[in-house]
Structures are given as structure tokens and as C-alpha cells.
């Protein structure tokens, strides 16, 4: 295999391994724990490196993962004292641990292999140079094997405990009633996240691993609410950005990790803007159409309440409901288009259809029952567009 393909493979597999726990972290509102873990594994890595002298050693990964879990435990301990809120607890723990790591590195500045830049960025470009040699035969880069092992392990766990994970993510009460301990699920997930973070750390660095964990899941969450689809989509987003990022980095000759994140960022931006029904544009459109619907309803109710010609004259309406001219006109047009009103000699009156509609709306407002609005939903759709 050429180094280029090896790098792409490592990046893609890392992205997939990060995306799977990421989905659950995002759904459980614990996305920032990944940020905390990715920072606070640093002292674990430094100490592990001092002992093993090998950045890809499994012992180092284990040690670092343990320090990730210690972070989670520490955050929970602080939170349990009730002295500060959870987010403050996270924000206190990881910078302190990270500082310890940075100082440890600075104290051992002679170990050139581990410097602070590598911690932040990782060095994907050098990954193919560290080969795994079994019985004298070169079987490929070490980190490729490590991350593949972690990905397979994650997938096996995911398949084995899919049901339990799903239940404990969406309904903690139900899951404990069914006998799956939410605590075990929580720590299991945290352990997987820690191990993945450490392995990915080698490839993309301490902070960018957060991007690989959160972004694909967040983007997928904007597109679907089905857990299986969300998992598949986030793996797809992660791997495709990893490969896209590699080529982008080659084109402009910059950090691979940085450009993978940038590609992920662009992907998220596009989905954030254009996702059907949950993207920014869709939400804004929905909000403005709802606003017009409410205005229309107000307008019809106003007509219903007033019988005198004076109150219903077009010129008077504008000042009475206190609308701007443009808004008043667009509501008036909308009502006309839907045959809710007729304008006769500058006096507005409700049609039979408008009358029926208004009565239904009043009934809904008074009783506030959902059945009333059920068939209204179809009516409301008429006004859109």
C-alpha cells in the first residue's frame, strides 16, 4: 500500500470509530465530556510515554484511557458535592489536568518525540512510518492496526448492546426498570469514548478529535431522528470528510487534521443551513409562515367580533390591529386567496368558509384540545405558499 492510501485509511477508520460513540454522546447531551476527555488524557499519555517510550504501545493507550475515565469520575464527584453545576465541574477538571500534562512535557523537553504541537495536531502524515512488524514481515502501519481493532471492538459492543444503549439513552427510568443499569451503560460508553479518543489522538490530536466525535453526529441529528440512520449517516459523514480533508490538505499543503476539521465544518454548515425541516432556512421559513397564520387568525377573529361597517373597512383595520401596511396587505391577500373573506366596497366581511374556520379556531383556543386542531392542520397547510 502506498503511504497516501494508508493515511486515508487511518483517517477514515478513525473518523468512523469516533462517530459511533459520538452519536450517543450527542443524544445524551454529554458532548462536552469528549472535550474534557480529549484534554485530560494528556497527563496519562505523557506518563505512559515515559514508561513505555512508544507512542503506539497498547499500554499507553490503556493508561491514557484510564485518565480519561478518571476525568469523568472527578467531574461526577465535584458535581455530586452540589457546590457547582456540571458544566463548571467539567470546565474546572480538564484544564487542570491538561496543565499538568503540559508541564510534564515541558519538564521532559528532551523527549523530542512528544511535543506540544503534536498533542494539539497529531501527526497523521507520519503515521505510515511507524510499521508493525510481525515475524519479520511488514504488515502495515501500527496505528492502522490499533484503530481498526478499536473500531471492530466498538462495532461489536454496539451490536451486542444496541438495545440497551438505545433504551438507556432515551429513557433512563425505563432502562433501570427493565434491569439495565444506567450506570454501567454510562461508564461503558465513557470507556469506549476514552479509548477511541486516545487512539484518535495519535492521528488528529487532542482537540480536533472532538470535531470527529461531535460534528458527524450533530449533522446527522439534523437530518434524521432514527437512531440507526443517524449512526449510518454520521459514519458516512465522518469517513467522507476524512478522505476529503486529506485531499484538501494535499492541495494547499497544510495540516491534514486541520483540513479534515475544516471539511467537517463546511459539511455541518451546509447541513445546518439547508437540512429539510430542521435546517436554519427551513426553520426560518416555518416561523414566518406560522407568524402569518397567527396574524390571519387574529384578523379573522377581529372580523368575527365586529359587525359594524366602520370597524370592518379596509382603511380602519390597519390602525385597529396595529399592523404595518405591508403586513396588513399580505394577510389580507392571503385571506382573499383562500376565500375566507370578500371585500365589497372597501368593507371586509367573512365568507361562510371563513366563518366556519373562525369558529373552529375559537373552539380550539377556548378548549385548548388537540383534537380540535388535528383537522385544522390540513386547513393551515392551505395557506402555505
Amino acid at each position: 500500500m502506498s503511504p497516501s492510501i494508508e493515511i486515508q485509511l487511518i483517517a477514515a477508520i478513525t473518523a468512523a470509530a469516533c462517530a459511533i460513540p459520538g452519536v450517543f454522546l450527542v443524544l445524551r447531551k454529554m458532548a462536552l465530556i469528549s472535550d474534557a476527555i480529549s484534554h485530560s488524557i494528556l497527563p496519562g499519555i505523557v506518563i505512559g510515554f515515559m514508561i513505555t517510550q512508544d507512542l503506539a504501545s497498547p499500554w499507553l493507550i490503556l493508561l491514557a484511557a484510564v485518565s480519561g475515565i478518571i476525568t469523568v469520575v472527578l467531574v461526577e464527584l465535584i458535581q455530586k458535592t452540589g457546590l457547582v453545576k456540571e458544566d463548571t465541574a467539567i470546565g474546572l477538571v480538564f484544564p487542570a489536568l491538561f496543565s499538568v500534562g503540559v508541564l510534564l512535557i515541558a519538564q521532559n523537553a528532551n523527549d523530542v518525540h512528544l511535543d506540544v504541537d503534536a498533542v494539539l495536531l497529531g501527526e497523521l502524515a507520519f503515521a505510515p512510518f511507524d510499521r508493525l512488524i510481525v515475524g519479520g514481515i511488514d504488515v502495515g502501519p501500527k496505528s492502522l492496526w490499533t484503530i481498526t481493532a478499536i473500531l471492530s471492538f466498538t462495532i461489536i459492543l454496539l451490536i451486542a448492546f444496541y438495545k440497551e444503549l438505545k433504551v438507556s439513552t432515551f429513557d433512563i427510568g425505563l432502562s433501570s426498570a427493565l434491569g439495565f443499569s444506567p450506570v454501567i451503560m454510562h461508564y461503558g460508553l465513557m470507556s469506549v469514548a476514552s479509548v477511541t479518543t486516545v487512539a484518535a489522538f495519535d492521528a488528529v490530536g487532542a482537540i480536533l478529535v472532538v470535531a470527529l466525535i461531535i460534528t458527524p453526529a450533530a449533522a446527522a441529528y439534523l437530518l434524521t431522528t432514527d437512531l440507526k440512520k443517524m449512526l449510518a449517516l454520521s459514519v458516512l459523514f465522518g469517513t467522507s470528510s476524512a478522505i476529503g480533508g486529506y485531499w484538501f490538505a494535499r492541495a494547499i499543503d497544510a495540516s491534514i487534521a486541520g483540513s479534515i476539521t475544516t471539511v467537517l465544518g463546511l459539511l455541518f454548515l451546509i447541513i445546518y443551513l439547508f437540512a429539510p425541516s430542521k435546517g436554519l432556512i427551513a426553520v426560518l421559513l416555518k416561523q414566518s409562515s406560522q407568524r402569518i397564520e397567527v396574524s390571519l387568525l387574529t384578523f379573522l377573529l377581529h372580523l368575527n367580533n365586529h359587525d359594524s361597517l366602520e370597524e370592518r373597512s379596509v382603511a380602519h383595520l390597519q390602525e385597529h390591529i396595529n399592523w404595518q401596511r405591508v403586513k396588513a396587505k399580505s394577510v389580507l391577500d392571503l385571506a382573499l386567496k383562500n376565500n375566507m373573506i370578500v371585500i365589497d366596497n372597501k368593507v371586509v366581511s367573512l365568507t361562510q368558509k371563513g366563518l366556519d374556520f373562525t369558529e373552529k379556531a375559537i373552539e380550539y383556543i377556548i378548549t385548548n384540545k388537540d383534537e380540535k386542531i388535528e383537522d385544522m392542520k390540513d386547513d393551515f397547510f392551505l395557506f402555505r405558499g
Binding site: V26, L83, V84, D87, L92, V116, L121, A257
Partner: protein, 370 residues
Amino acid sequence: MDITQYFTDYTLRTITLGTAVLGAICGMLGSFAVLRKQSLLGDAISHAALPGIAVAFLLTGAKDSNILLIGALVSGLIGTWWIRGIVTKTHLKTDTALGLILSLFFGFGMLLLTYIQKQPNANQAGLDKYLFGQAATLVESDVILMSTVTGISLLVMLLFWKEFKLLLFDKNYAMTLGFNTKFIDGLISFFIVLAIVIGLQTVGVVLMSAMLLAPAAAARQWTNSLSVMVILAAIFGMFSGVIGTAISASQNNLSTGPVIVLVAAVFVIISFVFSPGRGILFKQLRLLKNRRELELQKTLYFMYSIVRKHDDISRPHAIRILNNFQGFTKGTLSQLEQKDWIVIQGTNWSMTPRGFDTAANLYNSNLPEQ
């Protein structure tokens, strides 16, 4: 290192002053971040500021720290604005939004930084000081800038004190009173971003959030009053800066930023353990005291239940008959005697009228008065 160095060594004096001022402003504004439950916003913003620094450098080619800081400010504000957009317009939660902005902006910033490093421009070196901060690069003009910003934010804080306080604790009430909550909210956020940005050069992107949080979290433990908390947090922040600088100057290979953060963490630990009202230590002590008190009352009530059966309440009983009851020890007996509730004579005890009354009203004393 000795104390005279602070007056003779220009660099040390500048750095100490700089970190002290930085600690003070961060503590002050951090209090608001912590109380608004936006502790991690600082982390996200400080990371989000990185691409701004890189873009400012790419556009101007200058390494003037003021221009770079303006870039950082702009991109920090864009980050804050986008976080708010994600939270209000989509169903993604705050933690996801923070993590997204943090990592995506930072990644983009790193991309730009590595891109800049490959450019044939001699000026580029030193941009990475914004990653971990280098207090050693602080010069007098930086300290003046920091002090000016601190002065302005202090002024604004005093001017809008009432509004800030109201918004912190009861946003809806502030709205009904007719305050422009959006404006006040934006104002607080703006100053938090500003504090983060001016701290980047000193402690760096990664550790900036701790500067903001730690002094405020420590101060919170000592008081329930906002003004006291803000002042205390500023003092804690200042001392973290000064002590951290002194420790890192006393030894080689100790970067200032991480040391300051660790000093601040020590402040937090001390506050968590030793603060009289909320601290873990005093909470435990109170718990123990209450438990003992209960035990004493249990013993007294048991005695009362024996005494009640007799006409003469001061009739002596053998201590032995208390044996099947677990709550008593020699200590509790002598304590009961000290309180003048019982009298001990040899192996007998007898209840005093006072003890009888206390025991009779034991479970009524906590009832609300009728």
C-alpha cells in the same frame, strides 16, 4: 528569586502586573459566566478566536498584537453568535453547539496556522504563542491595553450593575420591567469575549477557560452576594496570576499559563473544602454534630420512656437497664449530666425535672408554634 527582583527586573514586573490584571478581569467577568451557567462558553470562545488571529495575520501580514486581537475578537463573537443560532434555531443542545464551534473553529484555525507556516514570510514565527500562551512575551503596551479594557469593563459593570444582576437571576422579570434583555445579554457576552481575547496571549487558547471559571467557582463558595463574589473572584484571579508567575519564574521549564491555572485550581480546592458555609469539611462537621445531637436525644427519650411509667420521676434506675439500647455510651451519659438532664449516682441514674420536660417536648420543639 527574591522580592527586590520585582522592582529591578523589568520583564518580571511587567509579566506579574499583566497576569494580575488579567486574573482580576477574568475573575470579575467569569463570575457572570458561571452564574449564567455558561461556564464552558469561555472554552468554546477561546478556541473560536484562533482562526481570527490567523486571518488577521494573513490579511495584514503584521504581527502587531492589537490587530491580531481584533481578529480574535471578531471570530470569537462570530462563534458566540453561531452557538446561539444553533441553540435557538435547531433542536441541537447547548453542549453539542459549544463542542461544534469549539472544535470546528479551532480546526480551521490550525489549518490556517499550518498554512501560514509554509508561507515565505519571516514574520510568521510566534503565532503559535496564542495556543499555549507565553506570558514572557508580554510588554508594557500589552499591560496598558489590559488595564484599559479592565477599566472599561469595570465602568460598564458598575453602570449596568442593576440590569446585569436582574438578568442573571430573573430574566423574565427583567423583561416585564421593560429592560432590553437582548441588549444586556449581548453586553455581558461581549465583555466575556473581550476578557477571553486579551488573555489569549498570556495563557493561551486551551487554558483560557480555566482562568475565567476557576476564580469565580472558588469565590462562589464563600458568599451568596453577587457583589462580594465579583470582588472575591477578582482577588482570587489576581493572586493566581501573581503567585503563578512567581512560581514559574523561580524555575526553568515551567510555562506560566499552566502554572497559573494550577494555582487557581488550588484556590478552588481550598474553597471547596474549607469555605464555612458550603465547604465539604464544615458540611461534614455539621453532619457529625447533628448526628451526635440526635443520638443524645435518642438516649434521653429512651430514659424518658422508662421514667414515665413511674410516679416519681427522679427515682434512680440502674445504668444496666439501658444496656439493650444501642444509643448510649459513657460519653453521652456524662453529656446528659452536663446538660443537667440526669443525675448519676454510682451505677444509678435518675432524671431531673428539667430533663423530663425536655424529653416530653422533644418532638414538639420542632413543630411550628400554634
